[in-house]
Symmetry: C2
Subunit: 148 residues, 2 copies
DNA sequence: TTGAAATAGGACTGATATGGTACTATTTAT
DNA sequence: ATAAATAGTACCATATCAGTCCTATTTCAA
């Protein structure tokens, strides 16, 4: 299915809210905005915080804040913060995990594909995610492994 | 982590073996070649067969065969045969599954990203997967959602 | 005609990942 | 001091994944 997890989806929504707001928001306020339970939002926010994507402030009137503008934050960063490195197969994440490694000469090409997908996600900013679709943005340049 | 499953990985390996061979191979022979247990290979081959990617022949001297050349079979087809439609989030697969659907205006953009990833995978053939990497194929054109 | 070889189709199980919740500690403004 | 908030950890229910097994059904060949 090649999917991202729900928590990662929440992370995108949270980051979009935070960049829209610009100022500090508590986990409670954020949970309300994206319609999830507070502990769930908190869990995701903690991960975003330890990944350095958001600043956290403890104590009364504390909360979370984003400093960078949405245009400077890529979807890839947010995904990586929750799910770890973007990799299509185990073996492309790190060598030695695959039981057919010796006989398999496909690794390099899987890595290429992973890279291509990763770069596709790096090229999409949070600003683009939250903006409505427009005809101009509908044009896509396509990744290819083919030599031109 | 954005990963494909092990079974899908096996499927790629099986398809590469079958396209290399060109002729019919039994599940047993294929399992030997890719170093997995026979029932496991069988399971994957059944799915490939019902997806129409391989022809199956029952009875003694039966087995599996691929008719199309490797260059005409995309990685995306094989992934879809095992994992279903390539979609990054539930909501981009089909509407109505997401609990924040009303308030979430990101769907269209997720769909774009899914499409971009899908097309990236469609542009990679089995032939390219099995070929060794070359410097010329190292050049990648990158997907982008940005207006030029 | 019979038997062996092979795929088809389920059913089942253990392991792992995911999503969600709860509890306690720590920090900070009032 | 107290209340509000995050940090950290642990836990559980569920779903998915990977692998195995069993019973048809088909087909070739002796």
């Amino acid at each position: 299915m090649l999917r991202i997890s729900k928590l990662t989806d929440y992370a995108i929504l949270l980051m979009v809210e935070l960049t829209r707001e610009g100022e500090m928001l508590s986990a409670h306020a954020l949970a309300d905005r994206i319609h999830v339970e507070v502990p769930t939002a908190g869990k995701v926010l903690k991960q975003l915080s330890s990944a350095g994507l958001v600043e956290s402030f403890r104590g009364a009137n504390g909360g979370y804040r984003v400093n960078r503008p949405a245009a400077n934050i890529s979807v890839a960063e947010v995904i990586a913060a929750i799910e770890g490195p973007i990799a299509m197969t185990e073996c492309s994440a790190e060598p030695g995990l695959c039981n057919v490694e010796d006989s398999c000469n496909l690794r390099g090409n899987w890595q290429r594909i992973s890279m291509a997908v990763a770069r596709a996600l790096e090229d999409v900013s949070l600003a683009e995610m939250s903006a409505p679709m427009t005809a101009s943005r509908a044009r896509l340049n396509i990744i290819t492994l083919n030599a031109p």
